[in-house]
């Protein structure tokens, strides 16, 4: 089964819009709850970054901030721009370059999801320490999936085709 070019563009647009709508809740809702000896700490994506920064680890905090906060939005915004100009003859070379960059860096935003998996694996020490995933992680994962799938569905050749 192969999608027509029109379907590819429409599906990509729908996914990008969905991703952009869910981006805000994904950053407000907690993605996990960490509890250590009775102290319960719900963590949002940004909360995790601030925690790392406050602990004197600005470099690691910067990496997580870039991967989990900046990259998903930058990727969705770039895709939205490419899709908005679809069929237009303007800035084709620039769009092609931006799309290439989106492909290269996009997957790094999955850091937070993998982080959750590693923390959930070791954080099962009963009352001493536990890590629980929260519904925010589903929303965050959907945002990432929307951007990843949209970038896969929209083919670079479509940038060069007229409407």
């Amino acid at each position: 089964m192969s999608l027509s070019d029109r379907s590819r563009v429409n599906l990509s647009r729908a996914l990008v819009v969905t991703g952009l709508i869910l981006y805000i809740p994904s950053n407000i809702m907690p993605v996990m709850t960490m509890s250590l000896i009775g102290k319960v700490d719900p963590l949002t994506v940004m909360g995790g970054v601030l925690e790392l920064y406050d602990s004197g680890l600005p470099l690691i905090a910067g990496v997580v901030f870039l991967a989990s906060f900046i990259l998903p939005f930058a990727k969705l915004a770039a895709l939205a721009w490419v899709l908005f100009l679809h069929g237009s003859p303007s800035l084709r070379r620039e769009r092609s370059k931006v799309f290439k960059i989106v492909h290269m860096i996009g997957s790094w935003s999955m850091v937070d999801i993998f982080l959750l998996a590693v923390l959930a694996a070791v954080g099962q020490l009963g009352a001493l320490a536990s890590v629980r995933a929260e519904p925010g992680c589903i929303v965050f994962a959907i945002v990432l999936l929307c951007s990843l799938v949209a970038a896969e569905i929209y083919k670079p050749r479509l940038i060069w085709e007229d409407a």
């Binding site: 290439k100 590693v118 694996a121 954080g123 992680c137 589903i138 896969e152």
Partner: protein, 218 residues
């Protein structure tokens, strides 16, 4: 005038190949060592000079990556200790725990991007390398090439290794953490995957498969 005629005759004789990125038609030409054919539309490398042994490194890297992936999945990555109680982390335990907590989508995503996609990508690279380097024609080469290309963006084992480092930093704030041998294997698979992706060239593989009569030139 002569130059224009020469150019026309070259175009008449030459074959057109599609750019692997934007699919623009590019005129194929004989390349000398170090030369590349660049797409005039999107600046992507369309063809490179094929060195005689250029397919051996990806073949070796994919084989190494597969062995390391097996080890990474069977040995613990790290151990977390709080007040004398400790817990080890295997790649699969995080996925099982997420599913146990009812987050099947997240578990499935981690399972696919962290274990299945790297395994499929490395297996496909190994199968293709095996066939091409040994000049064999095992079944399904065309399908394997397509699968390798499709699964490549979902191979996120390098991202997993970075997430492990971040997790260790975070866990150190809560208790004591000890690296286990699995961490080295995860890092090894990540390095092998990146190198395999960078070194292996689809055009070279397709060129060889075409010579073997497996598929028509794309």
């Amino acid at each position: 005038m002569n130059e224009a005629l020469a150019s026309q005759s070259l175009e008449a004789e030459g074959r057109w190949v599609a750019c692997p990125y934007c699919e623009a038609p590019c005129l194929e030409k004989e390349l000398l060592p170090g030369q590349e054919l660049i797409c005039s539309r999107c600046d992507t490398t369309v063809m490179i000079h094929i060195a005689k042994r250029s397919l051996q490194p990806p073949f070796a890297l994919s084989l190494t990556g597969l062995v390391l992936l097996l080890l990474a999945n069977t040995t613990p990555i790290l151990t977390f200790d709080v007040v004398g109680r400790s817990q080890s982390d295997y790649m699969i335990t995080g996925i099982i725990e997420l599913c146990r907590q009812g987050y099947f989508l997240i578990g499935l995503l981690v399972f696919f991007c962290g274990i299945i996609a790297p395994a499929v990508f490395l297996s496909c690279a190994f199968y293709l390398g095996f066939a091409i380097v040994l000049n064999l024609r095992p079944p399904g080469l065309k399908l394997v090439s397509t699968i390798a290309h499709a699964v490549r963006p979902w191979n996120l084992i390098p991202v997993y290794s970075v997430a492990t480092v971040v997790a260790v930093v975070k866990l150190k704030m809560l208790g004591s953490v000890a690296w286990q041998p699995g961490a080295r294997y995860v890092l090894g698979v990540a390095v092998m995957s990146i190198l395999c992706e960078q070194i292996s060239n689809r055009q070279i593989a397709l060129e060889h498969l075409n010579k073997m009569g497996v598929m028509k030139k794309e």
